[in-house]
Symmetry: C2
């Protein structure tokens, strides 16, 4: 491991490994122990690097949080078939699985809360949410009316975020099925 990674080629495999280790440690600490626990010292200890390495590459905490969420985003997967109802339902299923299995609910609640009081976190939230919504927005690109398209994205994402963050539980499969069916029928009549 390089003692100071500042000037090292970003394609250097050691640099990439350090980056991934540190980002993964920051995600773990954030999800399990909360915002205040994500300090350079704690991340250094958890990832097995020196504090000097952490401070050199992530001079402030927002840098660490930003890379944690970029890494977290990479862990979340979606697939697409080209059939709209099937793809929307699959994306909602992935979204719910990530909420439960990867504690995405925790990450989103922390981002929502912190973005309101810490302005430099809002762009981290925006990038993370944009990446998360991307497959659903691609699937819904066929909807001609931009307001109907935006409403469909917000409602389908919202069925999961509202349920997880406001009720503390994932919507049932039957409710997700019904939500997709309502949106597909409502959009079909619209266009």
């Amino acid at each position: 491991m390089p003692s100071n990674a500042r000037d090292v080629d970003q394609r250097d495999p050691r640099v990439i490994r350090t980056h991934n280790d540190v980002a993964a440690a920051a995600v773990r600490i954030l999800i399990n122990e909360g915002w205040d626990a994500v300090t350079p010292a704690r991340v250094a200890a958890d990832a097995g690097y020196s504090r000097a390495t952490i401070y050199a590459r992530w001079p402030n905490r927002t840098d660490l949080i930003r890379d944690a969420f970029a890494r977290y985003g990479d862990m979340l997967h979606h697939d697409a078939s080209g059939e709209i109802a099937h793809d929307l339902r699959g994306e909602l299923a992935s979204f719910c699985r990530a909420m439960v299995d990867q504690r995405l609910d925790r990450a989103l609640a922390i981002l929502a809360e912190r973005s309101q009081t810490t302005p430099e976190i809002a762009p981290v939230r925006d990038a993370f949410v944009a990446e998360g919504e991307r497959p659903m927005r691609l699937t819904l690109e066929v909807v001609a009316d931009p307001h109907a398209r935006e409403a469909a994205v917000l409602m389908l994402c919202g069925i999961v975020t509202h349920s997880m963050l406001m009720h503390g539980t994932a919507p049932s499969d039957e409710v997700l099925d019904a939500g997709v069916a309502i949106v597909i029928r409502g959009l079909a009549q619209h266009d």
Copy 2:
């Protein structure tokens, strides 16, 4: 003001006034300064009562938070006409206004985040959210299929919560119009 309100009749107007003053102060502090600022000492100072009064009636912080949210819920208003599309749209407008004018976005983000780590807060969140969703659930009682009904509630509330908490902004009027139209058409075909 009673020096110790523990044994005072709950219908005593002085008791009610103390209760309202303290709950309103707790709301203000929560919204403006965050969770950690809501301490009995800080609430006492802000509401203009002795710490003894606060400790006597709100022996722990969860009591203070619970009454703050009950008071907050009373501040949020809805109206109903009996015409479903109109009522749903009106409830979404009220929801958005409360998010912006009364910082409901801040209250919901704090409740979502804290409920995940502080188990005694989950019932406070559940009661507050149930009260907030009540008018929309009443309006949608006409939907026969329980899964479609639940999906419609989650999607319509979610269009606002997802937009406010994940994008940091309220949905536009045009997007809210489109959302209600999609749900109404989707439900009509369903039944």
